[in-house]
Symmetry: C2
Subunit: 166 residues, 2 copies
Amino acid sequence: MTARLQRELKKKHVFDSPQQVALIALLRTADRAQIELVRLFRDYGLTTSQYNILRILRGEAAPLPILEIASRTITVVPGITGLVVRLENAGLVLRTRCKADRRVVFISLTAKAAAVLKRLDAPLDKAHQRIMQRLPEADLKQLIAWLERIRCSLADPDDFETTADP
Amino acid sequence: MTARLQRELKKKHVFDSPQQVALIALLRTADRAQIELVRLFRDYGLTTSQYNILRILRGEAAPLPILEIASRTITVVPGITGLVVRLENAGLVLRTRCKADRRVVFISLTAKAAAVLKRLDAPLDKAHQRIMQRLPEADLKQLIAWLERIRCSLADPDDFETTADP
DNA sequence: GGCCATTAGTTGATGCGTAAACTAATTGAC
DNA sequence: GTCAATTAGTTTACGCATCAACTAATGGCC
């Protein structure tokens, strides 16, 4: 990470703008939440990236070309290869060369992976609830809207199916 | 991460709880913001982690033991060594063995690093402003409070000097 | 039908995060 | 004073992100 923005905060520069404080709070909070999830996934032998891939495959319920998977994650293309190899070694996915176009590699879930995902569903949902427990739903809605607003000021073009309030 | 939570969102599971949506929005937004910062730092030959270390050193205006630096970042101890080595190779910090306790290694900024940091100040502030430009200051204040509220539900014990509203 | 550009995917190198095991200096108990 | 426990820091090993450079199959153009 995630690289991380941290606790230089500790001694607070007098000149910090509200924008800076908010940004650092955002990065720190996300970082911590990530850590919770990382731990949860690790208990099931997965990393976050691996989970995301499995999740995409489950959502599709059909084999997907490897680059299609990459395009749905933020993972830059080359990273996906090793990721999938490790998943394959763990018996969680299968790789199949496409007959029609021998360049493409299809990835599919194994039963083992489906089982792991299923076991993970409830604990993961509980984690979501726990992390957000202190915000009532009305606030959550507003928070989501603001976060989306922030993303509007950011680079990536293809992320704009509006999640929140019209 | 940074590892990342992503666009499984694309096809929206009907069962998504508001908590889940909010969490994913949080992670995604932070991720994007990070990317902006990473790019900025890279233009100056730094990574985010490296910048954070330099920033801590500047804040202290005095040499710090390497583990003290590690403790102020989220960087887990062993990571700090290589990080500092690379900074040293880049001529940005100096390592000095402490005479009194020969176990400890003091790290100090070079003039070169001070110059880089100084050049970075304005662009970085501009980036903060830009990223948060769509939220008026009142909303920012509320956002900061909520983020802090979320962090209260999260693990790390030593992060609780309240940044926001009393 | 042969060549060139495109597309799918991999490889290799560097930096970071994390965990476990290690060295070396210091402190404390006696 | 000496030996055990603690503390500061490094090494090693693995996974991921990212970039640049690569291979291999396909498609289009003539």
